[in-house]
Symmetry: C2
Subunit: 339 residues, 2 copies
């Protein structure tokens, strides 16, 4: 369905979007099959090297199954959230100046900044189209699917805006960082679960628990992703070593370390006040300082606690045993608890 939708785009948009999604190479030729099939059911649960791949469509389909829905009615929402996710990646890569994603050059480095902005716009509009067309049978008394997705998009944009602003500020606290993650990351995961549950015509209390499961899972995912942004293996993450430190990103471990009361934190604050550290040795020193404040351990505990909160909501949603097990597997995969 995702493929069909993207194939409907004008050629100029399809080429850039298809490259970004891993379907084509830069010349528009089909890429290696391994590089990026996007059928959510086949790829979401395999130990993909591309973190986050098709997580959102899988959440939609499983949340639908959790309330007894059928996959067919959840497919438009599954495609729509994946399109929104990729819209945001295309634009974020332009704003953040990131040159690598999923082990390949980012779209803007290949096609130019303007083409990446336009392709992102095309995916956002397409997401709304697919969702509006696919949910016309929804009851007119409840919230509209496009309204739910649009609210998540607005949060996501607000979160990206905060993320960019944080890079210029030295005094970002862990609380602000969490609110940013709730907006930038968790809102779309919550939306995926809510749309899935609503497409399966779930009772309101189940919709709410599944949405809250998605929201907590999103925060846990972001904490883990932030840990990997400093201590992750480039061969696994597909990003350069210490990438989040290079950009002065105010990720969870950084904000926790900066707020700590210790000699390491003091040296860290000094370093963050100065010009950016450039060399690999400087970055390693910053990473070690953050670890010395205890921020790494704190984040690991936080990820565990928020994941546990997510799983409480999952249990309360009362999904059939097999679906609950699949959602637990997915949650473990997202938070790297599966290895």
């Amino acid at each position: 369905m995702l493929r069909l939708a993207v194939d409907s785009l004008p050629g100029s948009m399809r080429r850039v979007a298809g490259y970004h999604l891993g379907w084509f190479d830069a010349a528009g030729e089909p890429a290696d099959a391994d590089a990026g099939t996007a059928d959510p059911r086949s790829s979401a649960l395999r130990p993909a090297q591309a973190a986050g791949k098709a997580i959102r469509p899988a959440l939609v389909l499983l949340a639908s199954a959790a309330v007894g829905g059928i996959a067919d009615s959840a497919m438009p929402a599954a495609a729509a959230v994946e399109l929104v996710h990729n819209f945001s990646l295309l634009h974020d890569d332009v704003m953040d100046g990131d040159e690598t994603r999923r082990h390949r050059p980012t779209a803007w480095t290949v096609f130019g900044r303007d083409a990446a902005i336009l392709a992102g716009d095309a995916l956002l509009s397409l997401a709304m189209d697919v969702l509006a067309t696919g949910t016309r049978g929804w009851s007119a008394s409840g919230p509209s699917a496009v309204g739910i997705l649009s609210a998540a998009v607005q949060k996501l944009l607000d979160g990206q805006s905060a993320d960019l602003e944080f890079e210029l500020r030295a005094d970002v606290g862990p609380g602000e960082c969490r609110r940013m993650a709730e907006a930038k990351t968790a809102a779309l995961l919550a939306c995926a679960c809510e749309l899935g549950a609503r497409s399966g015509r779930g009772a309101e209390f189940r919709v709410a628990h599944l949405r809250d499961f998605g929201a907590a899972l999103g925060v846990a995912f972001q904490v883990v992703d932030d840990l990997l942004g400093i201590w992750g293996d480039p061969a696994v993450t597909g990003k350069p070593a210490h990438s989040d430190l290079r950009s002065h990103k105010k990720s969870f471990p950084v904000t926790v370390a900066l707020a700590a009361d210790s000699p390491s934190s003091l040296e860290l604050r000094e370093r963050y006040r100065r010009v950016e550290p450039c060399g690999e040795r400087d970055l390693q020193r910053v990473a070690d300082l953050i670890e010395a404040t205890g921020a790494r351990t704190w984040c690991q505990h936080t990820a565990d606690a928020v994941l546990a909160e997510a799983l409480d909501h999952l249990v309360a949603a009362g999904a059939p045993g097999r679906v609950e097990a699949d959602l637990r597997t997915l949650a473990a995969f997202v938070t790297r608890r599966d290895r």
Copy 2:
């Protein structure tokens, strides 16, 4: 309704969008009332200096009235097309590097490129939300309103993509230029008329004639706008003199002049092969060469012919006399035939 919708955005997006729309100044304070009220009924038909202002919502409301619809049911579509128009302006200004719009610094020059991209994204998503929520009573058998708007957005993006590509090419013909204008400009005007007519539950043949009226009007508008991009008075257009020549934009007069068979055209082609003309005197010479090929007159005739085509569709749509008169006035305003 537009104001209410934009007020619902997160603060970070509202600030930039409200500045762009002329409601706030750069500090977020209310701007002069004169600078940009956006109620379509009050401002569309006044001789605003800001060309194109609220044209699209006025088309929605008048197309609805043309088939006997009531304004209330057309309001969501009116707000949605204006939001999409402003989304595209925010992003186009970033891509084109334009520093002035509506006699004010463009949003990206005030808030930065990233903030303008995010605010554009927010308006696009909001447009779909407003339209989806406001058209839930539409029959499920016809096309969905969001689907119609999204198709127009895809054309608009494809047109902007072609426009950017044309700046790098010397061999753009008038035919390509027209197809680009049909995509970049006419698609949204056609969409405005179609959504208005459908919100008024017009018969299919009326919907089609009103849509084709909007499409032809869009092409006529673009031809006139291209003439103003070379020969317009900066005090009236709000853009620098010869602005389209500075950027090597392949507008209607330029493509017609480049394709002509005359000494002026030959000198023009020579100049376009060289590096950009920089000085005001060079730009004046290029403008004079274009005029000497007859391209200016050709474009004026084309604008008249396409406008006449639009008015034929308007007559065929069989609107009540008063509404047809209003649409004629709007068409004259859009194509500068009212002064």
